[in-house]
Structure formats: structure tokens, C-alpha cells
Symmetry: C2
Subunit: 227 residues, 2 copies
């Protein structure tokens, strides 16, 4: 009875009855059993969005690369390591997905072949690594029929809005959240962020605030689009 | 008076009056402002050795790549990111160094040039990264006059002892601590380790134990060599 009552409470949220899938964190692309290519994503924005979506009543799935964050409560956490694993988990989570939010900093490329044994340094002064393109997860989700409301993130160091709008149009996204990671006070690993929402017809600045507040503000804006 | 008393207590340790420099953790080699090459080293072994050296009375310097570990008490922590930074910090710490212990998993290679701006994916299905060799920190320390007692670590996935002995001889080290990182129960990120000590004339197995106990056992063996 208590469970039913609690479930009832969530049903009143702005995303009640909706299924939200969120990717978070970095991916790691193995060069060999000990070395990898990765990036500075902490996962904080994606975890905060998962909490906010759950608070808004959504059934929430969080597909996360390696982070040091605790699992949010009442969220289904699917841990992955590489971009290919994240892609597979995203495809699996796609049926009945109403909203797909891609916050993960997915490696664009991975080593063509991960060595089975540790690469020995040897005598060579240089080494060439050949990388191949990873699947484009958010574009694949946006191309699905029926299409979930698909949100991308663009972390850029220059021409932030230009790149974000290009991403929105090229990948047929419904919203791109753009932020300037060249600023050291916000973004990667920070607890705060300031972003520009790039919608198909307009832009909207969300000034600097905690990632938790930003997550709630984003969830409310997404919920309004679904209503 | 209490400080003097405490200092006096440490002077009775097996490394009293000695200066120990330890490198720990991974290094990160930037591909661009957001991407890097790194490895799975947690830093736990190096931090445990720093604690054990300090407990044995040594003045202890810990040069650490990015980890999530708390700074050990009464140890001078020098945080670094890249192999080149670790090399520079090691050279600076070298004067009067009695023991140099290289636990860090230093990247053998770094990208030839880190891009100043985030690399855009573009249309290409493949990408080639050119890497150049990083300085060999432990070999440089062992080549210094006067030579500190120099300890290397060899984390291998195959032919563990062969590679460790080769490293000992090629780099003129005094001891190599060899461990098999293909075993998932020990080594990287684990709180336990089992190692083989590769000395110039013999080998010695230290069976599986906590990294803290292993650190104390290693420090005692090193102290005996200095006595």
C-alpha cells in the first residue's frame, strides 16, 4: 500500500508515465589491457538529469560509462565502458523510450584493434595508432521510428553555438544543450554549469547554476515539449 | 616539545634520516583539451608505499598522477598530470634522494602535439594519431650520480618475470617489483597484490596480501639493502 501510494505520488510529476533514457560519463576505448583513450567527463550532469527525471515521475534508465558517482536512487543503472557497449545498451533501452538524453562524452573514435597483450615500448621513438569511428549513438536514436524526444549535448572549446546548431540539424535532434568547456569554472568535473539551449527555432541561455538545478530546469522544459 | 618527541620516534625507524621519492598513479597524455590517453593505475600501491616509508622514518616525497586517493599524512605530495611533468618533478626531487621508487604507470608515448582546440570528428571514418616516446623516468633516475637505490615496477600481462628482469638489467635498477595485471583479483584498482621481487641475483615471491602490508614488507627489504 505504501509502495502504491509512493508510486501514485510520482504519477503527478511532469514526466509521469514517461520513459527517459540518459547516457552519462566518459567512454573508455582500450588500446591494450592497461591503456585506454578517454576524456574528462565526470558524469555529474547525466546523473543529475537522471535524478531530476525520476523526481518528475519518469521511469528512468541511466547508461553510464566509468565514473566515481554513486548510483541515483530508483533509477535503473546500466554500467558500460566503451562507446560500442553504450551503443548496444542504448539500442536495447530504445523500445518505448519517450525521451533520450545523450550527456555522455562518447569517444568519437576507438583504436582499430585493441591489443590482447600489453603493447611493449620497444626501441621505436614514435608510434602510430589507427583509430576508427565509433557509432553515433544520439544520431541513431534520433533516426529511430517512433522517434524519442532526443536531446544532445555539445561540449565545445570554440564556436560553441555554431557547432551546437550544426549538430542539431545534422543529427535531427530536438534540442542541443551547448556548453563552453574552455571555461574552467563550469562544465567538466565542476558542480555548476551554464549552458545555451539550442532549439530548432531559437536559443535560450541558462545562466550559471548548480548541475542539480540545471537538471531540474532542463527536465521541466523537455516535459513542456511532450505535453 | 611534542613535535620534537614525535620526530624523535620516527628517527628510530628503519629509514630514519633517508629521503624517499615515490611516483604513483597513471599519467594522462592530452590529445586535445578534452581527450587523453591514460591507463588503469589507481595509485594505491604508490600511496601505500609513501605511508610505509614515512612510518619507517623517511622524509617522503610522493609525485602523483591523477588519482582519487587522499593525500597521505606527513608526506610531501607533488601532483602532476603528464609524463613530462612527472619527469620534471622527479628530476627536481632527485638531489639527496636515497631511494627512488617508480610505481607510476607512466605513459610510454604521448601525442606528438596536443591540439589546442577540441578535435572535430568530421567525415573521416579513420583517424591516425602519431605518438612520440616519453622520457624514461626510472632509467634517468638510475643513471644519476650519485645513484639512488632505484626500484621499478613491472605490470605485465605475459612473460612477467622475463620482462621484469630485462627491465632491471636494461635500466640498471636495483630491484623490480613484478606483477601480473592479467589477474583480475590483484593489481590495478585492487586493494591486494601478489608480486615477485626481481633482484640482480635472485627472485623472491611475495604472496597475495593487502597493498599496505606489501608496502611495509617492501620498505623493510629496501631498508636492509641500505643498511
Amino acid at each position: 500500500a505504501i509502495a502504491a501510494h509512493c508510486a501514485g505520488l510520482f504519477d503527478t510529476g511532469s514526466l509521469a508515465g514517461k520513459r527517459v533514457v540518459i547516457t552519462a560519463g566518459p567512454t573508455r576505448e582500450a588500446l591494450d589491457p592497461v591503456r585506454y583513450i578517454s576524456n574528462h567527463s565526470s558524469g555529474k550532469m547525466g546523473y543529475a538529469l537522471a535524478e531530476a527525471a525520476r523526481e518528475a515521475g519518469a521511469t528512468t534508465v541511466l547508461i553510464s560509462g566509468p565514473t566515481h558517482l554513486p548510483s541515483p536512487e530508483r533509477v535503473t543503472l546500466l554500467p558500460v565502458v566503451s562507446a560500442e557497449e553504450m551503443y548496444a545498451a542504448s539500442l536495447q533501452a530504445l523500445p518505448d523510450c519517450d525521451v533520450f538524453i545523450a550527456t555522455a562524452a562518447v569517444a568519437d573514435y576507438r583504436p582499430d584493434q585493441a591489443a590482447a597483450q600489453k603493447i611493449k615500448k620497444g626501441e621505436r621513438d614514435t608510434l602510430v595508432i589507427e583509430l576508427v569511428k565509433n557509432p553515433d549513438i544520439v544520431a541513431a536514436m534520433a533516426a529511430h521510428t517512433p522517434k524519442p524526444f532526443t536531446v544532445g549535448f555539445a561540449a565545445e572549446t570554440e564556436r560553441v553555438i555554431d557547432y551546437a546548431r550544426d549538430k542539431l540539424e545534422r543529427k535531427q535532434l530536438d534540442l542541443v544543450v551547448a556548453n563552453d568547456v574552455s571555461r574552467s569554472d563550469i562544465g567538466f568535473n565542476s558542480d555548476e554549469n551554464a549552458v545555451t539551449l539550442v532549439w530548432p527555432q531559437r536559443e535560450e541561455n541558462l545562466s550559471r547554476r548548480s548541475k542539480h538545478q540545471l537538471a531540474r530546469d532542463l527536465v521541466e522544459r523537455i516535459a513542456r515539449q511532450l505535453a
